[in-house]
Symmetry: C2
Subunit: 280 residues, 2 copies
């Protein structure tokens, strides 16, 4: 007796079709995907019209993608999947600095600068001194750490979003720690901005009664030999969107102080230490 | 205390972000979608590389879509989702003819023909007489039923797949029943064929150790005032792919006899009655 597809056995029938000798990991991932996909459709009794809407939505999402735009990553971001995958793959011991989403705006190859240098080239925004140390879980400084930083400009745009308007390396730079593990540089106090919301993902957010904004943050990619790669932000502590980041990137431990410093080299000062986790 | 996103509370945090006053059905569907999506990622501990592969796969699937090709419907089909949605939305009483997938190859507006006419214009394939009645659950004939039929040609292609090679209405036609509810027409004994497998979905099938073939079938769209719309196929009973239809469309009740008829107007004869379900 052949087990034809029925509503009751649907996921099992699909999964039983996988061939022998395929990758065991692929088998595991696909079986779980099909099981959850079918359970979802059954749980809500998905209608033909809803199915057709979903097909159209996914098609438009794919067709919105280009060299400059990745709408499926945006979709993953606003559904919390990007942060979830990041969390699953970056569980860290207490005291270690936590990861958050990488985001689509990093550019490889930013210029290596001297400690204390400014990364801001457009002269816009409120100057902020970023300072602190990179240390290990015991509090010892780590030398030779590469700190790659980037932020939006004072108008809420990353340089890659405005080619020809912003310099490619505006608000970007790489700093390398010395024996004391210390870092310092001048950037701007970043501003909150909306994720690109003129596509299917923006439409979805509006239908869900959600706004597209991210709270202001400075990006850090912190890498050192022998330690886990740290991809994180520091968030401006008084941002009104901290509790409603469109991509769920905020963690309490990443909210940094931003203090006015009337006498310093900048208007603001944000001190934050990065605690790296050793490789297993 | 703000409930920031964590691995443990991920789906609840995303779902809590939905605004007041949105469509209750949208809220229900999205909450279930997010819950299952996150449960899937946690269950398999989805890696960064797997996530990135999925983003790329979905992007390519969207970009494969065109006026002539709907790769996301193909994806839904091979994952059994299309058949599941069809099953959920077309639960029928015992004795009623069952639905199966509509497929992408129907063309609206096929010519209405006289009972007994041939729908085959290219002269290829083995001629088959399709015959039977359209009846209600009590066995009474239904008059004025519109029977829209279509199949591939003897080489396994639907006319819409070969514009300029096949006539648009090759192996297509509409028949309307009289008082006896009877229908008859001559088509070909259809042949099995692969779904389009030169895109991401074909790649996926190969990775899963699955073939892309559908068992041979004749499509029927049967509509009558006062009855549920019937979208179905009859399958050629001796087809080697009946137990492994790439899109899971086969139901035991839809496997039809195809008998040799040395003396008739055709080489084959396939008798099948369609039993319609009244509208609720």
């Amino acid at each position: 007796m052949v087990g034809y597809f029925t509503e009751a056995n649907s996921a099992e029938t699909v999964n039983a079709r996988m061939g022998e000798g395929i990758s065991p990991r692929l088998r595991q991932v696909m079986a779980a995907l099909v099981t959850h996909l079918h359970a979802f459709a059954k749980e809500v009794a998905l209608t033909d019209a809803e199915w057709a809407f979903a097909i159209d939505f996914l098609t438009k999402t794919g067709q919105m993608c280009s060299e400059e735009r990745q709408e499926f990553i945006l979709l993953s971001d606003v559904l919390g999947l990007s942060m979830l995958v990041d969390a699953i793959n970056n569980r860290r011991p207490a005291g270690a600095t936590e990861n958050t989403v990488f985001g689509p705006f990093h550019v490889e190859g930013a210029p290596v600068r001297e400690m204390g240098d400014s990364i801001t080239r457009d002269g816009k925004g409120e100057r902020c001194l970023y300072t602190g140390r990179v240390i290990d879980l015991a509090g010892a400084p780590i030398a030779g750490v590469r700190i790659d930083v980037w932020s939006d400009n004072a108008e809420g745009f990353y340089s890659v979003q405005q080619p020809g308007i912003q310099d490619k390396w505006n608000n970007r730079g790489v700093f390398v720690t010395g024996a004391d593990g210390a870092y310092s540089f001048i950037g701007i106090k970043p501003v909150s901005y909306p994720i690109p919301d003129d596509g299917p993902v923006g439409q979805m957010l509006r239908a869900l009664g959600r706004h597209p904004r991210r709270p202001a943050h400075m990006h850090f990619l912190v890498t050192a030999r022998g330690y886990q790669r740290l991809v994180t932000h520091t968030f401006v502590g008084d941002d009104p969107y901290l509790a409603s980041d469109a991509v769920f990137g905020v963690k309490a431990s990443l909210i940094a102080p931003f203090e006015r410093t009337p006498d310093g080299p900048a208007t603001w000062r944000s001190a934050f230490d990065f605690v790296l986790t050793p490789l297993a």
